[in-house]
């Protein structure tokens, strides 16, 4: 292990990750604010009106990045769950718990902005098509994860139970993503994907990608911030916590 450039296992220890997260999160928070300001400015003032939906389409700049984020955060939680079960590291469970509320927030935002967009464009707040239903299931998975892990008092057992929810639920993510391809849905197909050129005007695309990046930075910042609180709570009896400079008062 010692020949490696960075010893990753060192940061698997809460004691060494706590200060690292403390240094990193303000940078991500700063980036998030700047990108969000630029992204919203492009969304509202630079991006052109749509030929079909007029100004109403602008909710896409929140809706799509929030939906991407809700799916991606769940994948990251599943990744940490797999690491936690495999290597038996304490930090991975804490990372999952730190990410869950942000993921739930984005899933909710995605459903909510989707409803606001659906009413004027489709003519319905909600329909039970495959895309909308699978995203709703994702939201319930987040809520279920949070409820389950908070219902178990022993944090190590809570992490294990949560890890299983995260791993089983991750099957839902490809279902959400491909639902518009596999089945007839009211929801339209993807405008941006790996396999074909985006079907949006370039400035619209830029606005959406910058907003997506802003949401990424926000998620990283808030997860690091939250994981610090979780570390302190769980390790409150440890000597390293008692020796922290912020505890010397």
């Amino acid at each position: 292990m010692s020949q490696r450039l960075i010893n990753w296992f060192k940061f698997a220890s809460p004691a060494s990750f706590y200060p690292l997260a403390g240094t990193l999160w303000p940078w991500f928070a700063g980036l998030a604010s700047v990108l969000c300001a630029v992204g919203l400015w492009i969304s509202f003032f630079v991006a052109p009106t749509d030929f079909q939906q007029g100004e109403g389409y602008r909710i896409i700049f929140i809706h799509v990045p929030a939906s991407w984020m809700s799916m991606f955060i769940y994948c990251v939680m599943a990744f940490w769950a797999a690491i936690g079960i495999t290597f038996n590291t304490r930090l991975s469970g804490m990372m999952s718990s730190a990410l869950a509320p942000t993921g739930a927030l984005f899933a909710f935002l995605s459903l909510w902005t989707g409803a606001l967009w659906g009413k004027p464009m489709w003519g319905a707040w909600w329909v039970w098509d495959a895309r909308l239903t699978s995203e709703l299931i994702l939201f319930f998975l987040y809520i279920g994860y949070i409820a389950l892990t908070s219902a178990i008092d022993d944090p190590r057992r809570a992490d294990k139970a949560g890890a299983i929810v995260a791993l089983v639920g991750v099957i839902n993510v490809p279902i959400i993503y491909f639902s518009v391809k596999w089945w007839n849905t009211l929801h339209q197909g993807a405008s941006v994907s790996m396999t074909k050129a985006p079907t949006m005007a370039t400035t619209m695309l830029w606005g959406m990608l910058i907003m997506a990046l802003a949401f990424w930075m926000y998620s990283i910042a808030i997860a690091l911030y939250r994981v610090r609180a979780i570390i302190l709570e769980r390790e409150r009896h440890a000597t390293w916590v008692a020796e922290l400079p912020e505890m010397q008062r």
Partner: protein, 146 residues
């Protein structure tokens, strides 16, 4: 095998098992997961006969007629067509040549009586000028062909 590798194998094996189970379940429920039926599917007898269902397709160009508050139009998937009657307010994005999803029942005469009409828009977003240019190009290629 180290315990660590064993646990990783269990995680990956479990994921694969759940994945396969999900695939099988979704395959079994394939017909229930469909939000709407296309006119071709309806003609092929795939749509339920005894209960309301949704049909989806494009509103045929030039087919929309309004009579008081009853709107009549033809839903087409370019192969088959179904005439639809709907009493109510059509969504803003509803227009000829665009996507539509209608819920209702299919009469014995082949007419579809809709209780709800939803507009289905595509994933293309562009400024009106760009759309005008696209239309112009289409028009030009059409005249060239003729």
């Amino acid at each position: 095998m180290k315990p660590r590798q064993k646990r990783l194998a269990i995680v990956l094996g479990g994921l694969a098992a759940v994945g396969i189970a999900a695939t099988l379940i979704l395959n079994a429920f394939q017909s229930n997961l469909v939000f709407f039926f296309t006119p071709t599917q309806v003609a092929g007898g795939e749509a339920p006969k005894d209960r309301p269902f949704r049909i989806g397709g494009l509103v045929k160009e030039g087919s929309l007629q309004r009579n008081d508050i009853t709107a009549r139009f033809i839903v087409t998937d370019t192969a088959r067509e179904i005439p639809v009657a709907y009493k109510g307010i059509l969504p803003d994005l509803f227009s000829e040549g665009k996507g539509v999803v209608a819920q209702g029942t299919l009469g014995a005469d082949g007419n579809f009586t809709a209780s709800e009409v939803l507009a289905k828009h595509d994933e293309n977003y562009m400024p009106p000028e760009a759309q005008a240019a696209v239309d112009k190009a289409h028009e030009a290629s059409r005249t060239l062909k003729q």
